[in-house]
């Protein structure tokens, strides 16, 4: 069947059309027929792009004022006799939607019903920057494709298996009860996918492995995947906690916040922007938020770029140690995301101090790892395998859509370890 995957942001909609079925998933032959997106929604020069393997990328610029119009344009180009990949809109048999926040409500991917939609609405307060746009896209798509099932796949759902000791903050418990302040974690679809792929690549059963997954992209997070279940992750109540990111600070002493607000006379908005947009690699280096530019500046001897690189890698190394301890061991470390898949230096620097854990990188394999391929970059005798696995969140969303419709979607809830309410 053909599944349309949609990922709606504030002013963009990304999409893929994926040919898939339960049999194809099993045989690993599910694949994208087309991918693309609409950018700059709300402006007079919105841009729609469409990429189909073996064809020249197609692009059109026009006025697209809101999400419904964007989805409408996407459907139109998909059935275009020359540029499209579908004969008719009715070829689309289901739609999979990326949802950022599912709170404690959703521990799995879900068929969208009025109840599920109301549940997503309830989570808006937890992700005011993301969920409203996700919802807007969902409603637009359902209006235009009313006769096919729509499925929601949540960024947070996979981490719902964490035990309470990993997700409860040592704050007054009332904050958890009143506002749901706890660790949720994000990038769940990516962590789950690369963990599964790692086991498969090694020809081992996921249920027997302890894996640390490192999703290092624009946002960065890690997860401790113990026998297939996420038992801890670095992002927390919001995607700000944990690792150093392009412009986000990750972990810090919370007392810095009121202190800085007072001393610099900052407003809440400025403080928020400082932590989310002016920190991370960009904040330390003053050079760039892009790891490629940081590495280039390091080459030229820029000390602050070098420092940014070191802080970035050191924190990942620390978390690998922490997660090995949390799981009582580690069998594999998996790198994914733009930086994880492409930065030879980051992988080398992160793993260098970990020989004591049995991690031995094969420098040659690491340096020559082909782009876009699943590869092992540790030595043959390394006790811990180091893998590079390109992530593919759209593929997971399409797969979950098929699984939900086929009634074989697992839940990630772990009620036996839930915190008391």
């Amino acid at each position: 069947m053909k599944v349309l995957v949609l990922n709606c942001g504030s002013s963009s909609v990304k999409f893929q059309v994926i040919e898939t079925s339960l049999e194809m998933i099993e045989a690993d032959t599910d694949h994208a027929l087309a991918r693309g997106g609409v950018e700059k929604i709300g402006l007079s020069d919105s841009r729609l792009t469409l990429e189909v393997d073996g064809r020249k990328p197609y692009q059109e610029i026009s006025e697209i004022l809101e999400h419904r119009a964007a989805v409408e344009r996407i459907l139109k180009v998909l059935v275009h006799p020359e540029h499209g990949v579908l004969h008719d809109i009715s070829d689309i048999e289901a739609v999979g939607h990326r949802m950022v926040h599912g709170g404690e409500k959703f521990a799995s991917s879900e068929l969208i019903t009025p109840e599920v939609e109301a549940g997503i609405e309830e989570c808006v307060v937890l992700a005011p920057l993301h969920n409203p746009h996700n919802l807007r896209g969902l409603r637009a798509a359902r209006g235009l494709l009313p006769n096919v099932p729509h499925v929601a796949v949540f960024d947070t759902a996979y981490h719902q298996s964490m035990p309470a000791k990993a997700y409860i903050y040592a704050l007054p418990y009332d904050l958890y009860l009143r506002h749901g302040i706890r660790r949720y974690g994000f990038h769940g679809t990516s962590h789950r996918y690369v963990a599964i792929r790692t086991a498969r690549r090694l020809g081992r059963r996921l249920e027997e492995m302890k894996i640390v997954t490192c999703h290092l992209g624009n946002g960065c997070s890690m997860a401790a995947v113990d026998r297939g279940r996420s038992v801890d992750t670095t992002m927390g109540f919001t995607p700000l906690e944990g690792l150093v990111m392009g412009t986000r600070c990750g972990d810090l002493d919370p007392a810095i916040l009121p202190w800085t607000m007072a001393m610099e006379e900052l407003t809440l908005a400025q403080l928020n922007a400082m932590l989310n947009k002016h920190s991370g690699l960009h904040g330390i280096s003053g050079v760039s938020s892009d790891m490629r530019e940081i590495e280039a500046a390091c080459q030229q001897g820029n000390r602050r770029a070098q420092l940014a690189f070191e802080v970035f890698c050191y924190r990942i190394t620390k978390y690998i140690g922490a997660y090995a301890a949390a799981m009582g061991g580690v069998d594999a470390i998996t790198f994914t995301g733009g930086i994880g898949e492409n930065s030879v230096k980051v992988r080398a620097s992160v793993t260098a101090p970990l020989a004591f854990l049995g991690v031995h990188l094969d420098q040659e394999r690491n340096s020559n790892a082909p782009k876009g391929k699943e590869v092992i970059v540790s030595t043959d005798d390394s006790r811990v395998v180091v893998a590079v696995i390109p992530t593919n969140e759209e593929r997971v969303i399409a797969r979950d859509t098929v699984r939900v419709l086929g009634g074989v979607m697992p839940s990630f809830a772990a009620p036996e370890t839930a915190a008391p309410r």
Binding site: G42, L43, A269, K277
Partner: protein
């Protein structure tokens, strides 16, 4: 009218208020046309706006790419014709009745009658400004508070004949800017100006009578009532000449002695000590308008 239909906004006049409004509108993702009297002035306004965005980057309220996005959404021009396809007009020229009246009448001729014209004023009468137009129902007042980019509220002023449609569009627009709209029925000084002016005026009287120094009056009110700035520094930052103009207007309109400007205010304005912009008012400021003479007790504290 829904927010989706608003995507091109005109700001007439590129003064401090006009630039701030244009910035906020562009930040909200809408396109803006800033119209000035000539091309030279338009280019100058662009340069000043860029400088203030750079200051925002230094203060972490903006990123370099957000600056780029903001600038890409603002067009600076001297041609009134460029505003023809805008869905909403905000005029922010000087607070002068005749000049505003003249401009509004030109706009009334130029634009289709469903396009609302928002007059930026803290004191002038909307009803009087709209009187005699082909369509006076489209005119309403909008009062942004200083600083426009961060002040979370704006007053929307209904004149005697302002239509519900125009009001609704203006209210939705204020929401798009991320601000809370306050509906106000026309009355001198609306709500915020009318309430704050006697406070400032009284603070000036206290200083003039020698009850306490300006710095200590300001600090007492700031700390005592949890204001972000004291009333005298706030007046310095707005401009003492503006405060005087507003007070004279309110005094004239209402005849109430509570609005009679304090002689010390008049004296400072006559001396040219009009506030932060010129470096001197009740207090002194450097070229970045950072206050120089803060008391030792007037420093950030954690508790």
């Amino acid at each position: 009218m829904s927010d989706q239909e608003l995507h091109r906004i005109a700001v007439i006049g590129g003064g401090m208020m006009g630039r701030s409004i244009a910035t906020r509108v562009a930040q909200a993702g809408l396109n803006v046309v800033v119209r000035e009297v000539n091309e030279e002035r338009a280019a100058q306004v662009k340069a000043i706006l860029e400088e203030s965005l750079d200051r925002g980057i230094q203060r972490w309220s903006l990123t370099a790419s957000e600056k780029k996005a903001i600038l890409s959404r603002i067009e600076f021009t001297a041609e009134l014709d460029r505003i023809r396809d805008c869905q909403l007009i905000i005029e922010t020229i000087q607070e002068d009745f005749a000049a505003k009246k003249q401009l509004i009448s030109e706009l009334d001729d130029l634009l289709p009658s469903h396009i609302p014209i928002l007059v930026n004023t803290s004191t002038l009468s909307i009803t009087e400004l709209a009187q005699g137009l082909d369509d006076p129902r489209r005119v309403l007042g909008i009062h942004f508070l200083y600083p426009v980019t961060t002040a979370p509220v704006a007053e929307i002023v209904r004149g005697q004949v302002t239509s519900d449609d125009a009001f609704t569009t203006a209210r939705d627009f204020v929401r798009v800017l991320g601000k809370v709209p306050i509906e106000v029925f026309e009355s001198p000084g609306f709500v915020t100006t009318r309430v704050v002016l006697p406070l400032i005026n009284e603070a000036i009287h206290v200083v003039m009578e020698g009850v306490a120094s300006a710095a200590e009056v300001d600090l007492a009110i700031k700390l005592g009532y949890e204001f972000r700035t004291g009333p005298l520094e706030w007046a310095d930052r707005v401009g003492l000449h503006k405060i005087l103009t507003w007070m004279e207007y309110l005094f004239h309109e209402t005849g109430e002695s509570k609005f009679r400007p304090c002689p010390l205010l008049r004296k400072l304005v006559r001396a040219g000590h009009t506030g932060a912009r010129v470096g001197r008012g009740f207090f002194t400021y450097d070229e970045n308008r950072t206050r120089l003479d803060r008391l030792p007790d007037d420093t950030p504290k954690l508790s």
